[in-house]
């Protein structure tokens, strides 16, 4: 790891100047508190379909978002016009709006003492990223799509393969004196292909690779082959009979379930009592096999951040330890509402801060993924889910699902057009085996796990 290059420092300097100018305007107007997030991004997106590029999009944007707190009243706004006069008018507009908001003593920003003065380089930026031009991007996407078609003759059409990359720079500055500078990169290669099934039905499969650093993209051919395999494995999917069955979630579907838990431990949901976990601290909320952690400080992590949107140093937070609910993720406001300590989890800098997860994961177990199927006479292996059927207030969960039938401990025929349902509280308590296949590809990540039973609605 090395520090920022001269070019990066120059970009951050420009953003810092813009943020400082906005803060000065706020102070000239006599506003009590202000937070400014100035950011700049550059991205390239290409898509290749049937061997030819069908989209090349380049974007560049720069702007500031600002929150002011005056007499305990809050207003927010954003602008892309960073000219001196424009920023003056922008801040004056905020000062005008703030009177319609209502006083709330808890809305004040954290005291400067609570903000961090230093932060570490968490290896979020790869200088290679910005050097990937359209030609190289198109070539990688072309290779991925070609590999998908070559993998299996049943692949008949394609949404194409795409490569996108983005670099971002941001500065957070507050009237309390905090100045944070952060920058990062991201790149993804994705392939999305379609296989023909009988009766005009089509089966799609997609797969992606990538992350903060270019080397995480890996082989384009591997991405294409996996997308093709996913489309083909769903050919012939059928409903299964309605009933109550054991269910194994593969690691991607497991991550989706974990994300639902994530939505229920956010401080704003808790103080609003919009979560079934609102009054469950130190209670058993999952099986003893379940330990959940939020760690914003994993180098190169997709959800990594050195400081939060209110200038607090980030830290690792335990959420669930061996099934017991340890804590929530809190920003300043929700912490004050709940009379707890903030956890450095604020997002939304320059707007209304709210708590959010960073790298939110369930700890891996010891079992091999295949062993989760053992002993299941008849059950469902879930590889994908559809829809939004989850109510955080009650924990009721019901979603569309697809995957495979498990018969006598083996995956047999593909299954689709069914729903799986159960209350999340019962699902988490019903986890009876956790595999060792955790990987940090996404900011919410879980290993495969098995749930003792769920209701499957089919035919």
């Amino acid at each position: 790891m090395s520090g920022p290059s001269r070019a990066t420092r120059a970009r951050l300097d420009i953003l810092e100047e813009a943020a400082m100018r906005a803060l000065e305007c706020a102070s000239a107007l006599g506003l009590d508190h202000a937070e400014v997030s100035a950011s700049e991004g550059e991205s390239l997106e290409v898509n290749v379909r049937q061997g030819a590029a069908d989209l090349v999009k380049e974007s560049r944007s720069r702007g500031i978002g600002m929150r002011i707190v005056h007499d305990g009243r809050v207003a927010t706004s954003a602008t892309t016009d960073l000219g001196v006069e424009a920023v003056q008018a922008f801040v004056a507009g905020l000062a005008d709006m703030v009177r319609f908001s209502e006083e709330d003593p808890l809305a004040l920003p954290p005291s400067p003492r609570e903000q961090t003065g230093a932060w570490d380089d968490l290896d979020l930026y790869d200088p290679k990223t910005a050097r990937i031009g359209p030609k190289r991007a198109i070539s990688m996407a072309t290779r991925a799509e070609k590999a998908a078609f070559k993998q299996d003759r049943r692949i008949t059409s394609s949404e194409g393969a795409g490569f996108s990359r983005t670099i971002g720079f941001s500065v957070l500055a507050t009237s309390g004196g905090f100045v944070g500078r952060n920058f990062g990169s991201n790149q993804y290669l994705v392939a999305h292909v379609v296989a023909d099934d009988e009766g005009g039905k089509k089966r799609n499969g997609h797969y992606w690779s990538g992350g903060r650093h270019f080397d995480l993209v890996g082989s384009p051919e591997a991405v294409g082959r996996e997308a093709a395999a996913r489309a083909c494995r769903a050919i012939g999917s059928r409903k299964m009979a309605t009933g109550v069955y054991p269910v194994v979630f593969d690691k991607e579907a497991a991550g989706t379930i974990l994300g639902l838990l994530g939505s229920c431990i956010m401080g704003d949901r808790i103080y609003r009592e919009q979560s079934y976990l609102a009054a469950r601290l130190q209670d058993a909320v999952a099986s003893p096999l379940v330990t959940v952690i939020d760690d914003p400080r994993i180098p190169r992590g997709p959800g990594t951040r050195p400081y939060d949107a209110e200038g607090r140093r980030t830290r690792k937070n335990k959420i669930v330890t061996k099934g017991v609910l340890d804590g929530f993720l809190l920003d300043t406001y929700s912490a004050r509402k709940l009379e707890m300590k903030p956890t450095g989890s604020a997002a939304g800098g320059g707007g209304v801060p709210h708590p959010t997860s960073s790298n939110f994961y369930m700890k891996a177990g010891r079992q091999k993924p295949a062993s989760l199927l053992k002993g299941i006479d008849k059950g469902l292996y879930v590889t994908n889910m559809m829809g939004f059927g989850f109510d955080a207030m009650t924990g009721n969960f019901s979603r569309g699902a697809g995957g495979f039938l498990i018969e006598s401990g083996e995956l047999t025929t593909p299954v689709g057009e069914i729903t799986i349902s159960r209350n999340l509280d019962e699902i988490l308590k019903g986890i009876e085996a956790v595999a060792n296949d955790l990987e940090f590809r996404t900011s919410v990540a879980a290993p495969s796990f098995r749930v003792d039973q769920m209701t499957i609605s089919g035919n």
């Binding site: 999009k57 089509k202 609003r272 009592e273 939004f388 019901s398 569309g400 499957i456 609605s457 089919g458």
Partner: protein, 469 residues
């Protein structure tokens, strides 16, 4: 116009020329000026006021079916020209085109009196208070109310190298209310929302009180809800919001980009039977004031209503310019985008099923055991295989032809053509949903409208937890 009319016609020509430089077939520029205002009331207190101005231009060059795109967040000629040149790079060689553009006037379907975005802040807060009060007064069991009001004033100017310059104003207002009810240790919530391309006059026909009361009513109903059944059974969809079924089950699959790429389950199905003969589906972009209405699409095409499915037969797709050219038809005016930062693609506007002849009471009476689905929180479709889901937030059991117990939220799942083939009764009570829906596709959100008469599907899979009860 405060934003886009500041652009000189000469500049528009320069940009189009720069975008066509490399040999593109056509190019367009999309200027956007957008002001917004929002008020969020949390548990009776206005927690925050927000809003801002966004302005920029998106420039697209099209060669065959390939798109080059770039945008500028300012209307300075240099940065706009840079974006135009970048976009034009998609085409490498070819003959250069002449550019001549003319201003074209369009007939506006919606014309707000006073923009909500310009309304006095205190009046906006008063609207929220009325909603809050009505919800709380509905019952002592209502323990919490949150409400929001958002308004947008958007002006767009679209100029295309194939001829026209069009200008449109696109206002939008939306109110949302959610209420939590508690009794016997159980907490449930309900919500209500609506709006459209209106100014303040929206609240003449739909009072804030009506949204507050409706949110409270749903929360109170859900306090008594029981486990929904699991399995395949008859489902009666109430009129209005149920239109989300069509949006997911057929609407997305008929967007022509998926069909041009042969990735939709409706690919190659024009003229085929894709639903029961009782089903006629329309996409109507020019219904005054509806949330999904547009006077002009984001490619500068004036849209008109199209019947997508007539008596069960697939009639046509929704086309943007690129897919219209692919299929050798006229665009339907369905090219839409979230903002100047996004490429246009075929999207729905207001999509609904035409009324039938059955009395709604008869439809319910015809069901021995099934469910009556009233309100939904959203849906999703897998374009390729046609499987769709939508989430029920207010539903009831139907037993022996009568609506009985309220049910806990559940997902309904079906397959587009299979589910619509089982439509056996269509009510005479067509209604458009009050404007609250936003449709997402490829990371772009656009406002849409849905509508439906009461409809009976003989078979749909209900994802409850109660097996065999």
């Amino acid at each position: 116009m405060r934003g886009a009319t500041r652009v000189e016609p000469e500049h528009i020509k320069k940009l189009l020329r720069a975008a066509l430089e490399g040999g593109a077939d056509f190019a367009d520029v999309y200027f956007e000026y957008r002001r917004s205002r929002s008020f969020v009331m949390e548990d009776g207190r206005v927690r925050t006021v927000g809003g801002g101005v966004d302005l920029g231009v998106g420039i697209r060059a099209v060669k065959g079916e390939a798109v080059g795109y770039a945008y500028a967040e300012s209307l300075e000629l240099d940065s706009m020209l840079r974006a135009a040149t970048t976009a034009g790079q998609i085409a490498r060689a070819g003959r250069r085109k002449r550019v001549s553009v003319e201003r074209r006037r369009i007939r506006a379907m919606y014309r707000p009196t006073l923009e909500v975005v310009d309304m006095d802040g205190a009046d906006c807060v008063a609207l929220l208070r009325r909603a809050d009060k009505a919800a709380r007064e509905a019952s002592r069991k209502i323990v919490r109310v949150d409400a929001s009001l958002a308004a947008v004033h958007k002006e767009v100017l679209v100029a295309s190298s194939d001829g026209a310059i069009v200008f449109d104003e696109q206002p939008m207002v939306r109110m949302g209310v959610s209420a939590a009810a508690r009794a016997k240790g159980r907490t449930e919530q309900g919500s209500s929302g609506g709006g459209g391309r209106f100014g303040l006059e929206y609240f003449d026909a739909h009072t804030p009180e009506s949204h507050g009361e409706e949110a409270a009513r749903v929360a109170l109903v859900n306090l008594d809800s029981r486990e929904a059944p699991a399995g395949t059974m008859p489902v009666v969809l109430a009129n209005g919001d149920s239109g989300i079924l069509l949006h997911e089950a057929v609407g997305h699959g008929l967007e022509a980009d998926f069909n041009r790429k042969e990735t939709s389950n409706y690919t190659g199905q024009i003229g085929e039977s894709v639903a029961s003969p009782l089903v006629t589906v329309v996409d109507a972009p020019r219904i005054g004031g509806e949330r999904g209405s547009i006077n002009v699409d984001d490619e500068g095409v004036v849209p008109s209503a199209h019947r997508l499915i007539v008596n069960g037969k697939l009639r046509r797709y929704l086309y943007d310019k690129i897919s219209a050219k692919h299929f050798g038809v006229e665009p339907t005016g369905s090219g839409r985008r979230q903002s100047f930062r996004h490429v246009p693609m075929p999207r729905m506007s207001n999509t609904y099923m035409e009324a039938g002849e059955d009395a709604p009471e008869d439809i319910i009476r015809s069901v021995k055991r099934g469910i009556y689905a009233v309100r939904f929180s959203g849906g999703q479709v897998n374009i390729s295989n046609g499987d769709f889901v939508f989430s029920l937030t207010e539903g009831y059991l139907i037993e022996d032809g009568k609506v009985t117990a309220p049910l806990k939220g559940a997902n309904l799942i079906g397959n587009g053509p299979d589910a619509l083939a089982t439509v056996s009764m269509v009510g005479s009570d067509f209604r458009l949903s009050d404007g609250m829906w936003t449709c997402g596709k490829d990371g772009q959100s656009v406002p849409v409208g849905v509508g439906m008469p009461t409809v009976k599907l003989d078979q749909l899979t209900v994802g409850g937890t109660a097996v065999g009860s």
